[in-house]
């Protein structure tokens, strides 16, 4: 009995990601959710600009490549004109939390009935390791060569906490893909985020703490340890909003 194989909604193409990069893990979880809900035929995904820019090649559903940071606006354009489609964006922390701040906040405020998969790897991966809005205090990147100095370079942004202040956000959870248990939690969260869309609840976002071994200068195994030891303390794993939970939990 096959207990684990590549999900159907994932294309057979090998990923272009670096060895050990958890973008791939999250791709698989998204494809698994699409499979589980049997929505592949009506799903439209929006790829970001970032390491996941080629995501359009990896999912077996229709895909649109959005300008850097604008995936939520592009998703709005698709969803509002094709309300029967299931629309998701897949965005990095530069894409969503820097240049795309206005778009994600307003998609949230409007309660766009879409699903956001947000990859927080504390760095700009694709462009070669610059500081992201989510870079940790003291973290060295190519544009914070002396370590992020919060006094001059600002504090990390906690996107789930920020978006939870918006009435249109139905569900916001932060997960990590740093070990098997966390991967299973992430899987459940991502599936829920898609299910909520099928139920018309509004915007769902799953923030995934992810690794970038290449730009962090670590082995893949070290990188996952760093996610747990350095990132989770700054970005606690939690459900920040869940309007579908008993009593419409709204932290």
């Amino acid at each position: 009995m096959v207990v684990f194989e590549r999900p159907r909604s994932l294309s057979p193409l090998p990923f272009h990601y670096c060895p050990g990069c958890t973008h791939g893990t999250v791709h698989r979880l998204v494809a698994e959710a699409i499979d589980a809900l049997e929505i592949e035929r009506r799903t439209v995904g929006i790829a970001p600009v970032g390491c996941a820019v080629l995501a359009y090649d990896y999912f077996e559903c229709d895909m649109v490549e959005a300008p850097h940071g604008r995936a939520p606006a592009v998703a709005t354009g698709v969803k509002r004109t094709r309300p029967d489609c299931i629309v998701f964006t897949y965005q990095g922390d530069g894409d969503l939390a820097a240049i795309g701040t206005a778009e994600i906040v307003h998609a949230g405020a409007r309660g766009e009935n879409i699903t956001i998969i947000f990859i927080n790897n504390a760095v700009y991966g694709m462009t070669g390791g610059q500081m992201a809005p989510t870079t940790l205090p003291g973290q060295i990147t190519t544009t914070s060569p002396y370590g992020r100095n919060v006094k001059t370079q600002g504090y990390p942004i906690r996107i789930c906490e920020l978006l939870s202040t918006l009435d249109g956000v139905a569900y916001a959870e932060r997960v990590a893909v740093s070990n098997p248990k966390n991967v299973l939690r992430a899987k459940a969260a991502i599936e829920k985020a898609f299910r909520y869309q099928t139920e018309g609840r509004g915007l769902s976002i799953v923030e995934v703490l992810s690794s970038c071994p290449t730009n962090w200068g670590m082995t893949p195994v070290e990188a996952l340890r760093w996610v747990e030891e350095a990132m989770i303390p700054c970005y606690p794993l939690d459900v920040f909003k869940d309007t579908g939970a008993k009593g419409g939990m709204n932290k």
């Binding site: 009995m1 096959v2 207990v3 684990f4 194989e5 590549r6 999900p7 994932l10 090998p14 990923f15 990601y17 670096c18 060895p19 050990g20 990069c21 958890t22 973008h23 791939g24 893990t25 791709h27 698989r28 893909v177 070990n179 098997p180 991967v183 299973l184 071994p213 082995t219 893949p220 195994v221 996952l224």
Partner: protein, 70 residues
């Protein structure tokens, strides 16, 4: 017997499966090298595999297929 198949086409030798395997039966084959220059992972003691699929769960390249006895 449980069976774990690692596709050398997908595998990038990242070692996450090896780290995750509770039986410690996955290793990177430092002699083999695929056409992207990676050393793919392989299962050294298939007989002790529990079919727990933790390796597959953490594999970022969806390179692992796990089959369990009935």
């Amino acid at each position: 017997m449980n069976r774990v198949t690692i596709s050398a086409d997908y595998c990038k030798g990242c070692g996450l499966c090896a780290a995750a395997c509770p039986r410690k039966i996955i290793v990177l084959d430092s002699k083999a090298i695929n056409n992207k220059g990676y050393h793919p992972a392989s299962v050294i003691a298939p007989g002790s595999c529990t079919g727990c699929a933790l390796c597959a769960l953490v594999c970022p390249d969806a390179a692992i297929c796990v089959e369990r006895d009935a």
